[in-house]
């Protein structure tokens, strides 16, 4: 397959923008025109060969070269500094365990959430992890997530109603990226629980729904404070309306606010014991599954007694800390379909080759 990038021609930037919209190469919003020079500068800054293939993105199975990814980064409004994070995110999306082709094609509303850990949160950002990290106002979060989406559109071929069959999608399909608030967390960083060293920088990608807010008003005088918080989190995490409950597989993310994280830490919970307790609390009666599961409800028809877990293992429930300090945490259930049940994939960020290009730092 030819990996060379084809450049379109237009008389002006305005014409080029209209052409890109017409060709369905945008996410519907205006983009920075990826001129040959701009893309070349981004490739140069990341120190990788332009035609190096990072992986194939489905369902089009397009080859994601550094040059094509750089074009998406330019279009999304990234700074060159963000390239190592975007490259790691693209590698994660291309990992077969991520089930990207199916994830793009499903009718479910799922989008790749980029979670950044380690020094690259600052070195390749800053990627916000505090107030409004998933909202507007943070250039790195907004543009890195957007650039990955543009890769999924233009390299992966995901276009609504044709190859991306999400019935409604969700706003995170424009951009969905945040860092873990490692400094505000009483727990070791997420990536260390996934087998990486604390000094590593890691991008973790999870295909998941829009964030669901979880309200819990804590009380330090209540000896059951942590248990009550975990119960409330479990209600949001997997209820009868979620795929994880009905498919009985997949993964999900619990994004604890720093205040809620401290509630759990003062009761001596670790990330692992939080995962274990949430896994226990998301066991459900098979009779409910049979009654409400529709065609999926036949799974336990021949063995209707007892309970079943919504997640195969506690490790399928990722736990991180982010956001401002207050009474809210978030949960993100996922799709849980396809051969690998839409697994989370983590990739170490390689920024050893990155070099600063004079005149580009302010872009």
């Amino acid at each position: 397959m030819n990996t060379a990038t084809k450049y379109l021609e237009a008389q002006s930037e305005e014409d080029a923008l209209e052409l890109l919209h017409e060709l369905q190469c945008t996410d519907g919003l205006p983009v920075i025109i990826p001129t040959e020079k701009r893309v070349h500068d981004f490739v140069l800054s990341c120190g990788q060969d332009a035609d190096m293939v990072l992986g194939e993105l489905g369902p089009a199975m397009g080859r994601a070269t550094v040059e094509k990814v750089a074009a998406a980064a330019v279009m999304a409004g990234c700074k060159p500094d963000y390239m190592p994070l975007l490259i790691a995110a693209v590698k994660a999306a291309a990992d077969p365990k991520f089930d990207l082709a199916e994830l793009q094609a499903t009718t479910h509303c799922t989008a790749p959430l980029i979670i950044v850990n380690g020094p690259a949160r600052q070195d390749c950002g800053p990627v916000a992890s505090g107030y409004g990290a998933l909202g507007p106002g943070h250039r790195a979060n907004a543009s890195i997530g957007r650039a990955l989406r543009l890769c999924l559109i233009n390299i992966g071929g995901g276009r609504p109603g044709v190859s991306d069959m999400a019935l409604r999608g969700h706003p995170g399909k424009f951009s969905y990226c945040l860092a873990e608030a490692e400094e505000d967390s009483p727990f070791p960083p997420l990536h260390t629980s996934l087998g990486f060293d604390a000094a590593d920088s890691v991008v973790t990608l999870l295909g998941c729904e829009a964030p669901h807010s979880v309200l819990y008003s804590d009380n330090a005088d209540d000896p059951e404070d942590a248990d009550k918080l975990l119960y409330i989190l479990s209600v949001g995490l997997a209820n009868l309306a979620t795929n994880n409950h009905i498919f009985a597989q997949g993964s999900a993310l619990v994004c604890l606010g720093p205040k809620h994280a401290s509630v759990l830490a003062r009761s001596d919970f670790s990330r692992e014991s939080i995962q274990q307790r949430l896994w226990e609390l998301t066991h459900f009666a098979k009779t409910e599954h049979i009654r409400y599961g529709g065609e999926f409800g036949s799974a336990f028809k021949d063995d209707p007694e007892g309970t079943y877990p919504a997640f195969k293992a506690p490790e399928n429930i990722l736990v991180m800390v982010a956001g401002g300090s207050g009474l809210y945490s978030m949960v993100m259930p996922n799709w849980g379909g396809a051969a690998n049940a839409n697994a989370a994939v983590s990739v170490k960020v390689d920024n050893d080759f990155f070099c600063e290009i004079p005149g580009l730092s302010g872009n």
């Binding site: 089009a60 199975m61 082709a101 071929g157 109603g161 044709v162 190859s163 069959m165 065609e295």
Partner: protein, 59 residues
């Protein structure tokens, strides 16, 4: 092999078949939706397309 594809997903089926290098994969179009429409309807649809399925299997 024959793929059964509902009309809403016909274009997507064509896209995926091309992407995977199998543009000529035999396909039979079904009405949409099929899920949740009941056993009797499914049997009606099956009866209507069985000849097409057999024809493509024989090709």
């Amino acid at each position: 092999m024959v793929s059964l594809v509902t009309e809403e997903f016909w274009e997507q089926g064509n896209f995926v078949a091309r992407s995977l290098g199998m543009p000529d994969l035999p396909r039979v179009k079904l009405p949409h939706p099929i899920a949740g429409m009941g056993e009797a309807y499914r049997e009606e649809v099956a009866a209507a397309v069985v000849a097409s399925i057999m024809q493509r299997l024989a090709q």
